[in-house]
Symmetry: C2
Subunit: 350 residues, 2 copies
């Protein structure tokens, strides 16, 4: 199943090219090209004549030819684990809002949290000639980075800060985010904690959030080994199931930290299923601060992530010319705790 494999090219009356424009304007194609790319380099009257003809003919430049010759496609690849559940859409909007005015477009690909698939996707995007690639997280296959380096494709990492400072990243410290949650729960007097983390394998963000939470909990005097940890894919239904398991097996847990709002929303439902009330019986903290968090009942306390900002900053990086590149190459952003109604002082049962 390939794209129009069988039939030959049939463009009938072809779209006009720069040759046609030049012929009508009585100038060379070089001049037409100049008008399109650096208008100020062409005398005003000739320029306007050409522009008029361009308009009349509805001429649209051929991006493939341009990309081939200039090796600049104005395409930026975006590789995210998934676009489900709006987790990454906020970043995407930030990216797009900056890229579109500059005439650049986003090529979207999903990996489904599979790093090998990520490698293939990167290859595919390089083949498409993208000028740059945006990745999520700083955990990638060696082959992925090799591909990127060998083909000299600009790339950046989001949703995390790369340990390797040579890798451009616009993100935040996931550990600090997790710590924020642990700290707040400790403040509220919770001693019996549980975590519904994302799958930490191959996922530095999920691992970081969990690690940050556990470390801070320990620092606040809670025995690390007493904390119940469950890992789940980021799906509502999985959060729900995880909460039920936790609550059935550990009747004394009074607070659950979730590695994503998606899990938290599911977990809140799981609590309800188990006949427990949030926040009276169980406090719940999420991560991401998705739009929906504010509209849940109760409103979800969560760790806010600068998603849109990351998108904008990544766009800045890809739009920067080589001279100002390093200025934009590392942007450290902050998470912050958004307190709503899903958290309350510990209410130890039994």
């Amino acid at each position: 199943m390939a794209l129009e494999k069988t039939t030959p090219i049939d463009r009938g009356r072809q779209s006009p090219t720069v040759v046609e424009i030049a012929k009508r304007a009585g100038c060379s194609i070089a001049t037409v090209s100049r008008v399109l790319n650096r208008p100020e380099a062409v005398a005003i009257d000739l320029r306007e004549r050409i522009l008029r003809i361009v308009d009349e003919l509805g001429y649209v430049p051929n991006g493939s030819a341009r990309a081939l010759r200039s090796s600049r496609s104005r395409l930026i690849g975006l590789i995210v684990p998934t676009l489900d559940a709006a987790i990454f859409t906020r970043m995407l909007e930030g990216l797009e809002s900056r890229l579109a005015p500059a005439g650049a477009s986003l090529v979207y690909s999903a990996t489904g949290y599979d790093l090998d698939r990520e490698t293939r996707v990167v290859r595919n995007l390089i083949e498409k000639g993208v000028d740059g690639i945006i990745l999520v997280g700083s955990c990638h296959r060696k082959e992925t980075l090799k591909l990127l380096r060998e083909h000299r494709v600009r790339f950046a990492v989001t949703y995390a800060l790369s340990d390797d400072t040579s890798i451009p990243s616009m993100g935040f410290d996931n550990r600090s985010g997790g710590a924020l949650a642990a700290n707040y729960l400790a403040d509220l007097g919770h001693r019996h904690l549980a975590v519904i983390a994302g799958i930490t394998r191959d996922n530095d963000r999920a691992a970081g959030r969990l690690e940050g939470f556990l470390t801070m909990a320990e620092r606040r005097g809670i025995d690390r080994s007493s904390i119940v940890v469950v890992e789940s894919p980021y799906e509502f239904s999985r959060g729900r199931a995880a909460a039920k398991i936790i609550l059935n097996q550990n009747r004394n847990v009074t607070a659950i930290f979730c590695g994503s709002d998606v899990l938290a929303v599911g977990a809140m439902r799981g609590c309800k299923d188990a006949g427990l009330s949030v926040p009276r019986d169980i406090s719940m903290i999420g991560f991401d601060n998705l739009d929906i968090a504010e509209y849940m009942t109760p409103g979800l306390t969560t760790v806010d992530v600068p998603a849109r900002l990351m998108g904008e900053q990544a766009a800045n990086y890809f739009l920067a010319d080589n001279s100002s590149l390093d200025i934009h190459a590392r942007v450290e952003l902050e998470t912050r705790l958004i307190v709503r109604d899903s958290t309350a002082p510990a209410n130890d049962r039994q």
Copy 2:
């Protein structure tokens, strides 16, 4: 602000091309090309020798050159109003799941519900050389369609069925969806209705849902002019505000139909703000059946939209070769009512 405008091309030790492969394999570049595109046309041993060299050198074909020569880019443009709030992400996932295995990628653009911007975006995508474009809804500027036609770009419409049957569409009847909601509310005995519709100007989906609702309500004996209608952009906060306005000014309304789950989620909050309980005092119906609908408290009754399916069907259409094109050119899908806990028999106050 343009992409690397200042600096010249500097690729240092260049990526290998088909010429290098041919040289090493001792064959012509045509044969290399054939191995890559129609392997079965090349003798097995030569083929494997070439493939080995391709692998060793980490050769990646230059998509721009391929696209230029073959006028096939394996890029599909997706134009949606927004990706916020996950309204269209389900369709996107459907698309991507089918496109990726075929080596095709999605170029994403947003219009922010602005049809003039849509025209510009279409131009931009044509310039990028996309093989096809996916639009949302069947309401577009004349210039948009002209652009598409003149440049012979395959395109299709989703989330609606085009009246013009010459326009490929994979969607559903928004009016039927609205009717489903009205019918159900009438069944439950509601007589005092309100609608929070999307902005209907330039939006056939929003208009269709509203129209379908009103028409069915009338058919069920409810005076059309008695129905309170408010239009709001698809944002949680706007739904919330709209609900408050409706409830303040019309104390006898017992049910609200929202043109999107986003509005409904906001409106449920608005009801709570107004001290009214859903569904005891007010029944609420949304539209879209977003994932989150199931996880709200109460679970949101809503009209399910075959989002993922539309994406898959659109992908099928773009992957089809010219001969089987018409088979996939029109796919009529169904909406259905998903009953949850946000609706109950009418409970007329005062």
